[in-house]
């Protein structure tokens, strides 16, 4: 049940890789499911106009059943710039939790694949999966080392380890994180995950989905699309699936099985 809440900002912190952590004050709200998102707006006038969608990066329940939300964000435009320069104490309008989140993996191990700020939902997902004692790995890619987002202290739960890919080879694997995914799936030594979770820009999701389909491993993607309402009404986020049907990212997604969107036939 999404709700609209006005929540003070408790802290704004650098989170590495040019990303920021926005920590909200604890509030009497329902806890989200990892992979769900919120529409967030600061106390400014009518420009920028619309709230901006952000995945829940982490949350915790504190005393009196209060829930504390945390977002991880990259400054890319006007709205994120204003949020990034916001200071503790200002109040945010927070609408959510919205959309569908991730499900637990069917088997013992799972991989998370992040393109840049696509890492955002994975701390919360890690928290949720870690409680079930599964092996969890993170593959994270960026253009260059300086742009690798921070890990917000969840490395300890990444029992399967972290691997990094950079387009320019400045750190870790040289290539895209999808190339890294493909190469890791081919390593004989590696146990195959029961589920792959992917979050990042649309073309990266599509490429990752094709790799997973080729390997026959379930792939769950968190989609991005321009959003007006987050509630299914504006129809701004609607994409067309390979079957020429409409898929409403904000309500049917953002998390969905990749083969709902793309044909699961591996690329020829």
């Amino acid at each position: 049940m999404p709700a609209l809440s006005r929540i003070p900002l408790e802290a704004v912190e650098e989170a590495g890789g040019g990303c920021l952590r926005l920590v909200c004050a604890p509030a009497s709200i329902v806890a989200p499911i990892p992979g769900q998102f919120y529409m967030v707006r600061g106390p400014w006038e009518a420009d920028p106009l619309l709230p901006r969608p952000f995945s829940i990066a982490r949350f915790r329940t504190v005393k009196d059943e209060q829930v504390q939300l945390e977002f991880l964000l990259r400054i890319v435009g006007r709205g994120t710039r204003l949020l990034g320069t916001a200071h503790a104490g200002i109040e945010l309008d927070v609408l959510g939790p919205l959309g569908n989140g991730f499900e637990q993996p069917p088997g013992d191990s799972a991989w998370m694949v992040a393109g840049g700020i696509g890492i955002a939902p994975f701390p919360a997902l890690t928290d949720a999966i870690a409680t079930s004692k599964r092996t969890l790995s993170l593959l994270v890619g960026a253009r260059t080392e300086a742009e690798i987002p921070g890990f917000v202290d969840f490395e300890t739960n990444l029992t399967g380890g972290v691997e990094i890919a950079t387009d320019d080879g400045s750190a870790g694997f040289a290539g895209t994180v999808v190339d890294l995914l493909a190469s890791r799936l081919q390593r004989a030594t590696e146990a195959r995950p029961s589920q792959i979770y992917v979050c990042g820009p649309h073309p990266m999701l599509e490429a990752a989905a094709a790799v997973c389909a080729g390997a026959g491993i379930p792939c769950s993607v968190s989609l991005e699309a321009p959003m007006g309402c987050g509630m299914g009404t504006c129809r701004g986020c609607v994409i067309q699936t390979f079957q020429d049907t409409n898929f409403t990212v904000c309500t049917e997604g953002p998390v969905t099985d990749a083969n709902v969107i793309w044909s699961s036939k591996p690329a020829p």
Partner: protein, 304 residues
């Protein structure tokens, strides 16, 4: 308590706040946010004779205090509307207005007949002004004769209260307003989104897949306020303002300019509870200012 009720032809509204077509889905989406018994009514997404997927991505682009959209009238179509959306709408405690459009005058008439006969539909809003489709829509809205034809044909096809939604990009909206009134409309909505365009300077392509789109939101309110005023000077049928209303203050402003009711559109995206807050704010305002009937507000601006 102040009586905020509004009468538009045979349509009775508890108060003058309506949610604008295309910004409130089919109402059920806002069930957890909006107490429908606090607003005058909801207007559905535009319904067409057949279901439509709408335009490819991108469909929306934000501009300074505004939003350009070219959704392309993505809707379930009249059949699925009746099958899957109407049951919910019948149960909600406010008026239900169905927005509709077709590609020909006959298409409007047929759809008006079909929708007007459905139990649970309290009024129809004919969209003759959508900038975001290749055929149907806007060409009817900028020519007084064509607008009158569509209105007359729809009027003859149904007894359901009929609202006609006008185009804003005309030099003389009064002319169209009175043509539509003479052709039998019970009310007019002033106005649809304003044709607009934004270009990505890197790709050199329009920001929206359709090329152009319609501008809405606070940016356009001063233009729409003027259009409402001009329409009110030209016709006696009720005017429903649509364009940039964001608070109860804007509602009062539109009413002073001549509107009998006001639609909350883009503001639903900024604050899904906006329509209720507008209705509550209007009530408080009327109570505090000794306004017993909205007639004291409608058109009460003192022009120089």
């Amino acid at each position: 308590m102040t009586d905020l009720s509004v009468q538009i032809g045979d349509l009775s509204l508890r108060n003058p706040i309506l949610t604008a077509s295309g910004t409130f889905g089919y109402a059920s989406e806002y069930e957890t946010m909006v107490d429908f018994s606090k607003i005058g009514g909801v207007i559905t997404k535009g319904i067409s004779p057949e279901p439509r997927l709408g335009n490819p991505q991108p469909r929306i682009w934000e501009t300074e205090s505004g939003l350009i959209n070219a959704i392309g009238l993505d809707n379930v179509g009249v059949k699925d509307f009746e099958l899957s959306k109407l049951d919910y709408l019948r149960e909600i405690n406010c008026a239900v207005v169905v927005n509709f459009f077709a590609e020909s005058t006959e298409g409007y008439a047929t759809l008006a007949h079909t929708l007007g006969a459905m139990v649970g539909v309290d009024a129809l809003e004919a969209n003759i002004s959508c900038p975001n489709v290749k055929s149907g829509g806007r060409e009817f809205g900028v020519d007084p004769a064509a607008a009158a034809d569509v209105t007359r044909a729809s009027r003859e096809a149904t007894n359901c209260p009929l609202i006609v939604k006008l185009s804003p990009d005309v030099s003389n909206i009064g002319e169209i307003a009175s043509a539509v009134a003479d052709a039998g409309a019970d009310a007019i909505t002033v106005a649809n989104s304003i044709p607009a365009m934004a270009i990505d300077i890197d790709s050199r392509r329009p920001r929206l897949s359709f090329g152009r789109g319609g501008l809405t939101g606070p940016a356009v309110r001063p233009i729409v306020t003027r259009l409402v005023y001009e329409s009110a000077q030209a016709t006696n049928i009720p005017i429903i303002a649509s364009g940039g209303a964001s608070s109860w203050r804007d509602v009062v402003e539109f009413m002073l300019a001549g509107a009998s009711a006001v639609q909350a559109g883009t503001v639903n995206f900024v604050n899904p509870r906006a329509s209720v807050e507008m209705a509550e704010g209007l009530e408080t305002y009327c109570r505090q200012n000794g306004i017993n009937s909205l007639e004291q507000l409608v058109g009460a601006v003192n022009m120089p």
